[in-house]
Symmetry: C2
Amino acid sequence: MAPPPSMAVSPLVALIIRIITFICLFISIIVIATNKVTVVSRKTQTEVLFSSFYAYRYMLASGVIGMAYTILQTALTIFTVSTGNRLGGDGFAFLDFFGDKVISYLLATGAAAGFGLTVDLGRDEVVDSVIGSFLQKANVSTSLLFIGFLFSAISSVFSSLSLPKRVD
Amino acid sequence: MAPPPSMAVSPLVALIIRIITFICLFISIIVIATNKVTVVSRKTQTEVLFSSFYAYRYMLASGVIGMAYTILQTALTIFTVSTGNRLGGDGFAFLDFFGDKVISYLLATGAAAGFGLTVDLGRDEVVDSVIGSFLQKANVSTSLLFIGFLFSAISSVFSSLSLPKRVD
């Protein structure tokens, strides 16, 4: 199998992928951070927030870090698209490569931690009857984070393919 | 920043990384699959198994798939080390690249799903007093899966660096 004719990805395509990643992470963060439900028992009212669960805290943290990185990369890609030159050359290709890899793993683990908790909590009928709406919103946020991860993984494939030539 | 003098990774180093990945996944699978605890209440005995939780089922599935893939890659790497030639040339470099990427994401999500569930379950005092030993064993298995993921991520970096030259 011969390698494809050109492995350098158009900066415009790279930009679109980054923007989709950003939008998914942005909405995911808003949904999880505003997610709350008030549980009323006989005498007390308890507020359940995303911060009541470590898995959702980690999810939010991974989403925020991922979004900050994506904004930075989007700015760099806009610079590339508008000037036609990639800032810094080969050195930046390695930064992109490792940055994209680490951030996509971070988003993958964030989404998986969220699903890991939500799915099994939701299977408990008592829990589901009390905070079912909370879990549904958490699921929406986790799904968006997962979609954001998928697009960050595409960015990671692109940055791997754009690595400088191997020195034989 | 100039690229390093040579980006092709020694097949022997690649082999060692694969073998460590295999060992971690193998022990992780055994620990989670044999994990069980019997909960005795007044009248009934209930067995809690890994399969009682979807997160642990997913963990086991990702570990098994990851192990099968690692065995295949180990065999191919042994072939490379012993003959000095890589089977199939550039085509296989792309298969390695995408295979390593997908499998490392799979292991990352498997470990994260396990942690996401175990950490928040363990924070519940009632749950922890009943199935605390079960959760501790699950944590050991998840930690090993996570270490396996880290080594598979190293393999993924190697296979990205070994991609055929970019065609400009």
